[in-house]
Amino acid sequence: MLRSGAGSSFVFLTIFCVILVAVVLLVRRGVFTPKIRRVSQLDAIAELVGRATEMGKPIHFMPGSGGLTGGDIAPQTIAGLSILGYTSELCAKYGSKMFVTIRVAETQALARDIVQQAYLAAGKPDAFDPNQIIYVAPTSQSYTAGVLGLMNREKIAANIMVGAIWAESIMFAEEAATLGAMQLGGTAHTHQLPFMLACCDYSLIGEELFAAGAYVSKDPVQLAAVVGQDMCKLVAIALIIIGVLATIMGSPSLLNLLKW
């Protein structure tokens, strides 16, 4: 039985799913190739890694301080981790030092897996050191205290923080700025976005984070999902326009549909 009040979400989730899957299938069949505009923030990752390598200083990567449980956290963590894969591949290629700090234990296994695979993909499996993945501490504050210390001692040259991030954002950004590090920040936490925008050299705002993994992968199938994402946004905008017109004309039918 359909739960009460869940009807509209079910319908729209189905619509969104159909759009996404359809676009992905079309691309897979080769009907069209997805075109994505440049996201300069993501192109900057190579620049960050390159600069750090030249300076001979390490890169700090933080795949967010969220875990794998909980609604909008897990997707952000997954998005952060897919950027981790790309970054560590670059690091392996250039031979730059990188360390990853972890706050939530369940992401540790994943992060290690990803970094290891990236080194393998770059053809340098021996350069991988499991100690690059550092579990710091479980609460936001203890994690912050630990990472601030680490950043200082390692004299980092680049700081990449993408994923579910809370109060750490501004402290890391400030400390890294003092150390002269270049930074990329990205999160879908609306209350942390102001800091990302203001304090980092490059920032991924909200939705851009979720498209990032697909963008850096350059895999047409993943890019297709991003195109699908745009179409879903068109649906949302259309709903708003139709809804506003309907409300002006005094018809509550769309509203009732959304409430269903």
């Binding site: 739960r3 009040g5 449980t69 909980g70 809370w166 609306t190």
Partner: protein, 283 residues
């Protein structure tokens, strides 16, 4: 002229540590010597207060302590003010935490309002601390589905199945109001998804100022019945229930700190512009 220019330029490049000292002093002075500035009540706080005021005695109010100690400077005064108000309204108080440390924070807040909870005669009758339910949003979903199932024991190890305070409280639907002390995740968006939208329960937020911006849309869209914002919200609530406390005292310091930061931004910009002008001139 050139001397002034260099002074202004230097202002723009001030050591950040100097900034720290300025802030520290700016905040300390009003704390040691209160200025007693007036304080108005914002509409969100008013909504919150009115809703609690309208609850009948015996109504079941859920309080979710979803924060870590780091949020306490803002949230603890809110907790005390709200608990005191609920106590005066004689509602049932069902405390639960979806943050590990929240259970202990709830214990501390209850202790400050009632005395040691576990030995209080009304414990288990009008209020209870169900302790921590792990899993973040999944924990919330489990709690919403079955209160006693998710918390078979309370924080002190008592079985909850036959507790008086929980009689008739089985799912999230049975709460007259859930007050979420919001600090991070799980927080308001999660409670909206797992409790408000499936069970149509009323939610009020007592949030850090930081979270407040994020959850404003929920208040606008009517999903939330009221909101306390940070220390200021606590101060306003303290005034509304007629028991001014630490939050009210902290508001002066808040004002001064804001002014100090605004001044710093202005100074920074003056320095920046004078430097830019100098560069242009030298070109």
């Amino acid at each position: 002229m050139s001397e002034q220019g260099s002074f202004l330029t230097r202002l723009g490049k001030m050591d950040r540590r100097f900034m720290y000292v300025v802030i520290l002093i700016a905040v300390s002075i009003p704390l040691l010597r209160p200025l007693a500035l007036p304080l108005s009540v914002s509409p969100e706080t008013r909504l919150f207060y009115d809703y609690v005021q309208s609850l009948p005695s015996g109504a079941s109010v859920g309080l979710t302590f979803d924060c870590q100690p780091g949020a306490l400077p803002e949230l603890y005064p809110q907790m005390l003010a709200i608990l005191q108000h609920l106590k005066a309204r004689q509602t049932r108080m069902i405390c639960v935490a979806f943050f590990a440390e929240g259970a202990m924070i709830a214990h501390n807040a209850l202790t400050d309002v009632f005395g040691p909870p576990n030995s209080h005669p009304n414990y288990g009758k009008t209020f209870v601390n169900l302790g921590f339910i792990a899993g973040g949003e999944t924990g919330m979903a489990a709690f919403a589905k079955s209160v006693k199932g998710a918390a078979p024991q309370d924080y002190y190890g008592n079985p909850t199945a036959k507790m008086e305070v929980l009689s008739g409280v089985d799912t999230a639907k049975d709460f007259a109001l859930i007050i979420e002390f919001a600090y991070g995740t799980p927080g308001i968006p999660e409670i909206m998804r797992q409790m408000q939208s499936p069970y149509q329960v009323k939610i009020a937020a007592a949030a850090t100022a930081l979270i407040a911006t994020q959850i404003m849309p929920y208040l606008k869209s009517g999903q939330m019945v009221g909101m306390l914002t940070g220390l200021r919200g606590a101060a306003e609530y303290e005034n509304l229930i007629g028991k001014p406390g630490e939050a009210v005292a902290g508001m002066d310091a808040q004002s001064v700190a804001h002014v100090a930061i605004i001044l710093a931004i202005l100074v920074g910009n003056v320095g920046y512009y004078s430097e830019r002008r100098k560069q242009k001139r030298s070109m």
